[in-house]
């Protein structure tokens, strides 16, 4: 969705016929039965406040508009509340499909700056949301240890976490991102 008055024709090259297959293989197996009834969009709490159209995302995925779907910021507007999945008259795992596409997007190098930031935090501190002063203050008031028994308390464990992220290729995922950003 954009405000542009012109609309581009969908060309052959934008259609990746294998795209849906990959989504199906990853678990959203009924996605091809979509009849575009719009139940998913209309129940979507996010869609009520944003331009996010779940149905449209499903349609684009079905058509194989891989690049468009994976690069779209819409993909990240889903709050994964699962309402669409529950209400779908075709029992399509809509939310699963979105999560699958998000994973694909990241692998292809599409990642929102916010997510990259959070990921970097995780790499550096072992926490997506590391302890800050305000939290420390709150813990004090609640009379629990100021430093939680996580990597914050165990410096050496942080190395292990980093090692895990290294072996799983998570660090690389973010590094690549820094190198050549597609967005």
């Amino acid at each position: 969705m954009n405000d542009s008055i012109s609309r581009e024709t969908i060309e052959n090259e934008s259609i990746d016929p294998d795209f849906v297959e990959r989504i199906v293989e990853a678990g959203a197996d009924r996605i091809r039965t979509c009849i575009q009834c719009g139940t998913c969009s209309s129940v979507c709490p996010s869609g009520r406040r944003t331009a996010f159209r779940t149905r449209e995302l499903m349609r684009k995925a079905l058509l194989g508009l891989k690049e468009e779907v994976l690069s779209s910021p819409d993909l990240w507007l889903c709050a994964t509340c699962l309402t669409c999945l529950e209400r779908c008259p075709r029992q399509i795992k809509v939310t699963d499909a979105i999560v699958i596409m998000r994973n694909m997007a990241v692998k292809e190098g599409f990642m929102l700056p916010q997510h990259r930031k959070v990921s970097k935090k995780l790499l550096q501190t072992g926490h997506a949301v590391p302890l800050d002063e305000a939290n420390q203050e709150m813990r004090k008031e609640l009379e629990i240890p100021e430093i939680p028994p996580t990597v914050h308390a165990h410096e050496d464990a942080l190395d292990d976490v980093k090692e895990i992220m290294k072996r799983t290729g998570f660090d690389k995922l973010i590094q690549e991102e820094e190198g050549g950003e597609k967005e």
Binding site: C37, T39, S41, S42, V43, P89
Partner: protein, 838 residues
């Protein structure tokens, strides 16, 4: 000829030894161009029991047929093998030929050396060897054939139609007009079905009862039709041509023959109760008819509501038609055919006697919000004869709505309720919208749809008319309806899919196009008739394309929506069609049944000792019964000859005539006599895979000549013992060729049962060390000749990749384990057991 003509008494002396004649067809150059017929003749002569071999230029032509008849006469042949084309081509021809010479047609076997050999292989030593083995496989089978007689059963030339809706009425009228006495059994007080409840019909807007009413009356007074109304089917016995149906007539407390239908009783009756026929929107008296046009016009007392004031008895007076002592009555009728026309139900539709139950709560606030109604309720509101006199008004305040909403696909196309499309909702909703607008022209109409489906004659025009009428169509499935607690208006929320934005519309009456569902009691009736239902709950037809009105049980036909939702024109067509299908049986004195049926050996059947019943479960036609303590019994009239039970019987107590275990074992042994490890043994079902193999030949698709094909009627006939025997003898590969699942099987579920069986057996083979590539389940249709040829090539390639040595090694290693069940059952020839034990 090597054999001198035997003397009469000599035949008697060697009575056990068959005398087989083999006729080799040149088929012009079609066969003789590729295969050396002289060599085939020499080979055939060398075969056991073959006493006469003759070459024909064209065996199927008159001279060729004459040579067969002459051969039978001159050489006292009792079995004949014709090596020529496919049995699917000329088996019927030669069966007649041999019958003319006094031989039983089931002593005739065809060797398919054209489609399976000369047409699909190059001229070579291997293809000639294949032809020889095909002939041998036919000869060994022929040697084991026995004369079989077709079964004939007499036909009772009376018909029954269950269900008196518009489809059943037409079926009954057609049967009656053809001259057959027809019993029309109706569960409710009157015939007429749903059509009688509708206001007008699409796309022509004829008044529904005005066109159905005369048909109801015609059925009511037709001399050949006996309407048995307010009655249930209790029990059905018998088989094609000979059904005995037990019917229970519910008491009306009014004597049908004495009631004049004057209605005076109803006038004086002081009690009213909700009329389910009017969707509980109106009431009826405790003694009444559900609607004025009822046929038969006989009043009924509802004892749940009657206060026994006997005012009706007084007013009926001398006519004495009221009888409070009436009891349910059971009657038995004999019919030759049964036509099922039990129709459908709609979601939330009230049933007679259900007035004490709370309203069902459903989709979009139905049952909770007063101004949400079903389409059938809307029909009664729109109808001038309905409870509001044709005023479309709101339940909450009796006012005319100004904004009326229609939601389509309520419960339809929804995996969580009914996955199917209900067929008629788009059209009836458009119709109701047009009628509402006609009644009150200033009404605004909103229609929520997913897709509008109008595939019928004149239907698209009708859609255009609705578009032109200025209705607002919203493509989108509403996710929520909420009620304004003050105005009782309804707010419908959905996405406008075409724009991609949420839309919220307030309407003051909401009509739901509720899904059609199988009629109440469909499952129970199906059980009594032994007919199955498809996944959607409706009755299953014998074939989705070519036998849509038949059921797998011969003599039982399907009419109308009970087979799947249909609108009026299609229900009427189906009614006439079902009547015509029934008449094909009723018009004959007897019905013939092919003798290739299953036969139980009572000495082997273990059901005598313990509850077994495997065959009963596996039979797709409910043709087998297994009473506790007795051997299972096959009802030949219901047996279709697929052989699924035969292969499924754990004790080999069932045999299929003409496709017996010994015959198939002998074919396997003949096929695998030479170089078994190089061969592909194919069990092909007659209707699909065998057809596909024929087509490969007809299309001249070439493939390696190392396959040997054994024809069975259904893949369900393929016993795991056959596969075991093939590997025991050292086969390279075994393929089971079946029809495509889920619906292509000629015997409903034979291929499903075969598939399950082979999924299990595959594990046994894997455990025995047989490479999985060497055992193939393949679904090939009769149109897939190319796929058959391709499959043979691929399988051959796989065998080459695995290599002869490894195949031999695997067979050697696995033999003991694979042969074990054969040994236990005594299926291995004694001489070979001795060899194996060495």
């Amino acid at each position: 000829m090597k054999d001198k003509q035997p003397e009469e008494d000599e035949i008697k002396l060697v009575g056990d030894k068959p005398r087989i004649g083999v006729f080799l067809c040149h088929c012009g150059s079609n066969i003789a161009g590729t295969l050396d017929i002289d060599e085939l003749e020499e080979y055939a002569k060398s075969l056991d029991s073959v006493v006469y071999v003759k070459q024909n230029r064209y065996t199927c032509a008159d001279p060729g047929q004459e040579e067969i008849r002459q051969g039978i006469k001159d050489y006292k042949l009792d079995k004949v093998v014709v090596a020529a084309c496919s049995p699917r081509m000329h088996e019927p021809t030669f069966r007649v030929t041999v019958s003319e010479a006094g031989m039983n047609p089931f002593n005739f076997i065809m060797a398919n050396i054209r489609e399976h050999c000369s047409w699909c292989h190059e001229e070579s030593g291997d293809s000639l060897q294949k032809a020889k083995e095909i002939i041998k496989m036919a000869v060994v089978k022929a040697a084991l054939t026995v004369p079989l007689q077709k079964f004939e059963v007499p036909v009772t030339d009376k018909a029954m139609v269950i269900g008196g809706g518009v489809s059943g009425i037409h079926a009954a009228l057609d049967l009656a007009n053809m001259g057959y006495k027809t019993y029309l059994v109706e569960r409710d007080e009157s015939i007429g079905g749903h059509m009688a409840q509708l206001d007008k019909t699409f796309p022509t807007l004829d008044c529904s009862i005005c066109i159905e009413g005369p048909k109801m009356v015609e059925a009511g007074r037709h001399p050949n039709i006996e309407i048995i109304s307010f009655a249930d089917i209790v029990h059905v016995d018998g088989y094609v041509g000979n059904f005995t149906v037990t019917i229970r007539k519910k008491p009306r407390y009014v004597i049908q023959d004495d009631c004049t239908g004057c209605g005076e009783c109803s006038d004086v009756c002081p009690v009213e109760y909700p009329n389910a026929w009017e969707q509980n929107l109106g009431t009826r008296k405790a003694i009444s008819v559900p609607f004025p046009q009822a046929v038969p016009l006989v009043y009924t007392i509802n004892r749940d509501h009657c206060i026994e004031c006997y005012k009706c008895v007084d007013v009926c007076g001398e006519r004495q038609a009221i009888d409070f002592e009436q009891e349910p009555e059971e009657i038995e009728v004999e019919v030759g055919t049964i036509t099922v026309a039990t129709g459908f139900h709609t979601l939330y539709e009230p049933v007679r006697g259900g007035e004490f139950e709370a309203a069902q709560e459903g989709y979009y606030g139905y049952g909770r919000f007063e101004n949400v109604v079903t389409a059938l309720e809307a029909e009664r509101l729109i109808c001038a004869g309905g409870p509001t006199g044709g005023e479309v008004i709101r339940r909450s305040d009796g006012k005319h709505p100004k904004r009326v909403g229609f939601i389509l696909c309520v419960g339809s196309r929804d995996v969580n309720k009914y996955e199917y499309c209900s067929n008629f909702c788009c059209m009836y909703s458009l119709k109701n919208a047009i009628l509402v607008k006609e009644h009150e022209p200033d009404t605004e109409i909103f229609i929520w749809y997913i897709d509008i489906r109008t595939p019928g004659k004149g239907y698209e025009d009708f859609y255009t008319r609705a578009r032109e009428a200025g209705f607002t169509f919203i493509k989108g499935r509403p996710y929520e309806v909420i009620e304004d607690s003050e105005t009782k208006n309804l707010i419908v929320r959905s996405e406008d899919v075409l724009i991609g934005r949420d839309i919220e519309v307030e309407v003051d009456l909401l009509i739901l196009a509720t899904a059609g569902e199988p009629s109440f009691g469909t499952g129970e009736l199906g059980g009594k008739l032994h007919i199955t239902r498809s996944g959607d709950g409706f009755f299953m037809e014998a074939h989705p394309k070519l036998k849509p009105l038949d059921t797998p049980v011969d003599g039982i036909t399907l009419s109308g929506a009970c087979q799947g939702l249909k609108d009026i024109p299609y229900s009427v067509s189906a009614g006439s069609g079902a009547a015509s299908r029934a008449a094909t049986i009723l018009s004959k004195d007897t019905v013939e049944i092919e003798p290739i049926v299953a036969v139980v050996d009572p000495d082997k059947c273990k059901n005598v000792d313990r509850d077994c019943g495997v065959c009963v479960d596996k039979c797709p036609f409910v043709a087998i019964t297994a009473v506790e303590g007795k051997a299972a019994a096959v009802n030949v009239a219901n047996c279709h000859g697929c052989g699924t039970c035969v292969a499924s019987c754990p004790h080999d107590a069932i045999e299929q005539m003409h496709f017996t275990d010994p015959m198939i074992f002998s074919q396997i042994r003949a096929a695998l006599e030479n170089k078994p490890e190089e061969k592909i043994l194919v069990f092909a079902c007659n209707w699909c895979c065998y057809g596909g193999s024929d087509l490969a030949g007809t299309s001249r698709f070439t493939y390696p000549p190392n396959s040997r094909i054994i024809r069975v009627m259904c893949s369900g006939r393929v016993d795991t013992d056959f596969v075991a025997e093939a590997y025991r003898l050292g086969a390279g590969a075994v393929m089971v060729g079946a029809c495509h699942r889920p619906t292509d099987c000629h015997y409903i579920t034979g291929n499903h049962i075969a598939y399950e069986r082979f999924q299990r057996y595959r594990k046994v083979l894997e455990g025995a060390g047989i490479s999985p590539e060497r055992f193939l389940w393949k679904e090939i249709s009769a149109a897939e000749g190319l796929i058959f040829a391709k499959t043979m090539k691929e399988l051959n390639q796989k065998l080459n990749d695995i290599g002869i040595d490894r195949i031999k090694e695997e067979n050697e290693k696995g033999r003991k384990r694979i042969s074990a069940p054969l040994k236990r059952k005594g299926l291995i020839p004694v001489i070979e057991i001795a060899e194996e034990d060495e």
